[in-house]
């Protein structure tokens, strides 16, 4: 089950990227209320905690230089879309098959 959180994380990351894209015109045209500065601190803190956690955990397990770590990170990032689509496509197919089944049952 270890791979499951990887699949889910990559799917959420791609989903978040797509949703952020939808959000862009609203931000650009100033159609949203700007939140309080205090509310953005947890986001920044969470990002840095994740970054430090990755660096520490990776260096504990794998004896590599920082450059090699960066390379590993790039390679890991590059499969994001592949993993997300691999996780998402079977679900889509399943949903399509079930909707066809429902239509047949109704018809």
């Amino acid at each position: 089950m270890g791979w499951l959180n990887w699949f889910v994380a990559e799917t959420i990351a791609v989903g978040a990227a797509l949703l952020n894209l939808i959000w862009v015109p609203f931000i650009a045209l100033d159609k949203v209320a700007v939140p309080d500065v205090l509310l953005t601190f947890p986001i920044i803190a969470a990002f840095f905690v994740t970054l430090v956690h990755f660096a520490c955990a990776y260096r504990m397990r794998v004896a590599v230089t920082y450059w090699q770590m960066l390379g590993a990170m790039i390679v890991f990032m590059s499969v994001q879309w592949t993993v997300a689509s691999a996780a998402f496509k079977p679900r889509l197919r399943q949903a399509k098959a079930s909707s066809i089944g429902h239509e047949k049952a109704a018809g």
Binding site: L18, I27, A28, M77, W81
Partner: protein, 167 residues
């Protein structure tokens, strides 16, 4: 469309470009320099990194392929498919091409059947052994057991050879 010009990472390229363009737009229109808007733009840029890295890796792979092609000229299939045991026609050009780390690792682990570039690797190895390798090879020459034997004992790999100028 040829293999070299086909864009295999089109969705990634599209999404990455859209995210980067969105970030640039927000940076540009945020004249009052709201920290939150700038932060959102930075996040968009960070989110585009995985998509761009996928594109970058594909181009890196192609660059590697091009370098290999400049060393080894092949006719017929560009990448010999040894798993299927097809006879391949390989013309060897560079006789002193160095071995890559991945090739050496594959040799050490005995992963020849799983390794995608085993034919190239064999050509490189043979170049180190100063063996003339030009002409038509039979897939049986590349069987992993025989190859390992050839590597460990440093014996000559038996195959049909032609002089290099017989291209």
């Amino acid at each position: 469309m040829s293999h070299t010009t086909r864009i295999v990472t089109m969705p990634q390229m599209l999404l990455g470009t859209l995210l980067a363009a969105g970030a640039a737009t927000i940076f540009a229109v945020n004249v009052y320099r709201h920290l939150e808007a700038d932060l959102f733009a930075t996040i968009l840029l960070l989110q585009s990194l995985p998509f761009f890295s996928a594109v970058a890796l594909v181009w890196l792979e192609r660059l590697g392929d091009r370098k290999l092609k400049s060393r080894c000229c092949t006719s017929g299939n560009l990448r010999p498919n040894l798993k299927l045991g097809r006879p391949e026609r390989v013309v060897f050009q560079s006789r002193h091409a160095p071995l890559s780390t991945s090739t050496l690792t594959a040799v050490r682990l005995g992963m020849w059947n799983e390794f995608a570039y085993d034919a190239y690797a064999l050509i490189r190895l043979s170049s180190d052994n100063r063996q003339r390798l030009s002409g038509q090879f039979k897939a049986s020459c590349f069987k992993s057991r025989r190859l390992r034997e050839a590597l460990t004992r440093s014996v000559r790999i038996r195959c049909q050879t032609k002089p290099e100028n017989d291209k």
